[in-house]
């Protein structure tokens, strides 16, 4: 089974999961529409690894919007439902922002999520009655350090590819393993790590050819 076929199966399984229990017509329409989209992308762009990465990125960045859509369609009017919708709306906005900027955007979203998540864990410690507060403090600090490593490594990779890659891997990989059950975190991490390696390889290739890599080739230049 090739990579894009595997991602197709994963996206269809995710679509089946988040449309469960909805009105039959709404549920089937969303499932059919996503199946059609995946087919059309593979028909137009082929079955290569780049297409699989693109499909995985579209999936990962769209998860908050999928869940927000699910809440809207299920007509949840409860307080937790409204809070979840508000949180997901922020996630959806981050997904749109990252979509416009491509893979560097996803890297920064992942770094920001870890940083904010860690800050939230630590800030709420005083009002948290969990007996494992010591462990939570360590986890919060870990999230912040991971976010900082990813953001720092992403900028560093253009000048010092090995150090940049190492920082991004050190920040992202352990949490992806820890949070593997979320599916979305390991998928986003895989895409970010692939992108980081590709950037480092571009830098090495440019150096071999005697050129100098732009410090931040993915960022738009100033007017």
């Amino acid at each position: 089974m090739n990579a894009s076929r595997s991602v197709t199966s994963a996206v269809l399984a995710w679509t089946w999961f988040y449309t469960r229990g909805l009105n039959e017509a709404v549920r089937d329409a969303r499932r059919d529409e996503i199946a059609s989209d995946l087919f059309e992308q593979r028909a137009a762009e082929g079955d290569g690894r780049a297409v699989a990465a693109s499909m995985a990125l579209r999936w990962a960045l769209g998860v908050p919007a999928d869940l927000a859509w699910r809440i809207e369609e299920s007509g949840a009017r409860t307080a937790p439902g409204r809070v979840a919708a508000a949180v997901l709306a922020r996630g959806e906005a981050a997904g749109r922002w990252a979509s416009r900027r491509g893979l560097p955007g996803l890297t920064m979203v992942l770094a920001a999520l870890y940083g904010l998540g860690g800050a939230l864990v630590i800030i709420t410690l005083p009002v948290n009655n969990n007996p494992e507060r010591g462990g939570l403090a360590v986890f919060g600090a870990w999230l912040i350090v991971a976010g900082a490593l990813i953001a720092w490594g992403a900028r560093l990779v253009a000048g010092r590819p090995w150090a940049g890659m190492l920082a991004v891997f050190a920040g992202a990989a352990p949490l992806a393993i820890l949070l593997v059950v979320t599916v979305i975190v390991p998928v986003a991490t895989l895409v970010v790590l692939s992108h980081t390696v590709a950037r480092a390889r571009r830098v090495w290739r440019d150096r071999r050819h005697g050129g100098f890599a732009a410090p931040f080739p993915d960022l738009p230049s100033h007017p």
Binding site: R30, E33, I34, D37, E40, A43, W59, A65, R96
Partner: protein, 116 residues
């Protein structure tokens, strides 16, 4: 920031503009992947718009009357051995909303959002 009722989000503006100016498929109709690839090729985004983001926006626009939709004939899809497509087209209301948004932008009024 809260969205102004009836105002368009940037993605909605991009979808309407792309569907109208780049030209969609037959009879001005387009399907989801088609508009995502046109948004990317037209420079509106660097990657294909995420599935969730795209189809949530299309749902919202359809419910607001900016787009109309229909499912293509299953026989057509079966003949081409692919899943059937959901085809969208921009309505007169969608055209009017885009023009109003462009007017707002031209006059310096930030469209789509207003202070809470």
């Amino acid at each position: 920031m809260r969205r102004k009722p009836g105002a368009l989000l940037p993605l909605e503006v991009a979808i309407l503009r792309t569907a109208l100016t780049l030209g969609a498929g037959d009879e001005g109709e387009f399907h989801g992947y088609q508009i995502a690839s046109q948004l990317r090729d037209g420079g509106e985004s660097r990657t294909l718009t995420a599935h969730g983001t795209l189809y949530k926006a299309l749902t919202r626009m359809r419910k607001a009357g900016l787009l109309s939709d229909r499912w293509e004939d299953p026989d057509t899809a079966a003949a081409e051995e692919r899943p059937r497509r959901r085809l969208y087209s921009v309505t007169a209301q969608g055209v009017a909303a885009l023009r109003a948004s462009e007017r707002d932008q031209a006059t310096g009024f930030a469209p789509g959002v207003q202070p809470a």
